[in-house]
Amino acid sequence: MSKFLFVVPPFFGHISPTLSVGASLIARGHQVAWAGIREIAPAHVPAGGRFIVPHAELEEHLPEIQRILKRQDDGPHISGAETLKLALEETYLPFCRFLMKGLPRIVDEFQPDVIINDCITFAGAICAYNKGIPCVTTTPVPPDVGGDAMSAPKVHAWWVRHIMALQEEFGIYAPASVVNSDKLNIVFTSQEFSGIAHPPPHMKFVGPVKGRPNDTPFDWKRLDKATSPKVYVSLGTLLVDIRREFFSKLVTAFADQPLTIVAATSPDIFEQWPDNFMVQGYVPQSQLMAKMDAVICHGGFNTVNDTFMNGLPMLITPIAYDHFHTASLIEKAGCGIKLRYKRLRINDLRSAMWQLLENPQYRNAASRIRDTFIQAGGNSKAVEYLETFVEECKMINVKFQM
């Protein structure tokens, strides 16, 4: 049996698939821990696992960590180029420096056989490199290989310059980036959906991984009585002002339509909702999806995965960050329609939704994506890659010691 340490950022979309894979590793008898700069709700940590935050080393940085987390709310209001700067310079790099204060101690105490760093949580890979521990990377969203801005040579050079400087801060003078594993990178989507024709051999697409059961109550009787097509809407955990504006557009577009809208949002953003809207803050999303005909979301990856695991067509309204890349993949796959959040017209919303519901090509394409997701193997494939990797590393170690 082996010891696995996941190193994760304070963003639940990135943590969630690692919790799922971690639970599967624990079920196979392995020891699993997580390290990060912010605690998560204890209920989310799989039984038998530990989530470790180096509180003592982080204490003096707490105000700055809070400020950076709050700064993420600016994402929807800034341009793509500014978002890149915000991500690398204002978020990933400082978070790496904070976590490096306590991570080496956690690693010394836990003694993992493998460190699994999330793709934007560079501290995991840096610590692994410095301590000679094998490193795997997890990537929750389809990687944007050669994205619009990153394909500009000076922008790419800017990224590389920052990564190399960061590595040197921690005594690494490798000629190339070590902040993501070049041995094994587990990606939680399918290769077909990612649109990457020739991925590097260490990039393994395992598709969505299953979360823990969600037994949040829901008015299933009312839902089952509804006879009109059912549309699920989720905006993730974005700002309240965006939420109001977004849902007021949806209300205008769909209040008089023969549709049943299930909206995952706090009902108190409006005094009154139309009769065909079912509104609830926290919902059992995976169970709900099974009863839906279409989904509207901004492109948060957990919802995207749930949608296509159920073979549903999607109306995607990208707002910021990686949403635009995800939206372009959905359009390429033909399993949905993209409407930009910034310039959302009521008529477009309405006609796009009826297109999705009435033109079978969208649902057929969504079913094809579901098939690729299932074939990718999910949890058991991720566990297989990790177990094979750790066994190979142990064998190499034994050879070196002989």
Binding site: A149, P153, V155, R340, K342
Partner: protein, 99 residues
């Protein structure tokens, strides 16, 4: 002798008026109403154009001002801060320099 107006003689203001028209066509009249388009308007921040809109815009620029204008090539040689700062005035000057 009568002569057609050569593009070289276009003033920055004339180019700007054409660009305003293209922006309106690309992002939609109802959304332009809320925007004040000036030479200082930044391309990505004030006009909030995404990559698809930028491609559509540059196609229009090429079709109108000629093939010498390699708008996307010009953009891809910028660093992040230049992209963030880029405004309509810069684009007008660039077009003029290509004519």
């Amino acid at each position: 002798m009568d002569q057609l107006t050569q593009p070289t003689n276009l003033s920055e203001q004339e180019i700007l008026d054409v660009l305003k028209q293209f922006i309106t066509e690309v992002i939609g009249e109802e959304f332009v109403e809320d925007l004040e388009i000036t030479p200082q308007s930044s391309f990505t921040k004030d006009l909030e154009m995404d990559s698809i809109e930028i491609v559509a815009f540059s196609e229009k620029v090429k079709a109108h001002f000629g093939r010498n204008i390699d708008f996307t090539g010009w953009l891809s040689n910028m660093d992040l801060d230049e992209i963030i700062q880029l405004n309509l005035g810069d684009i007008t000057k660039y077009i003029r320099s290509c004519l």
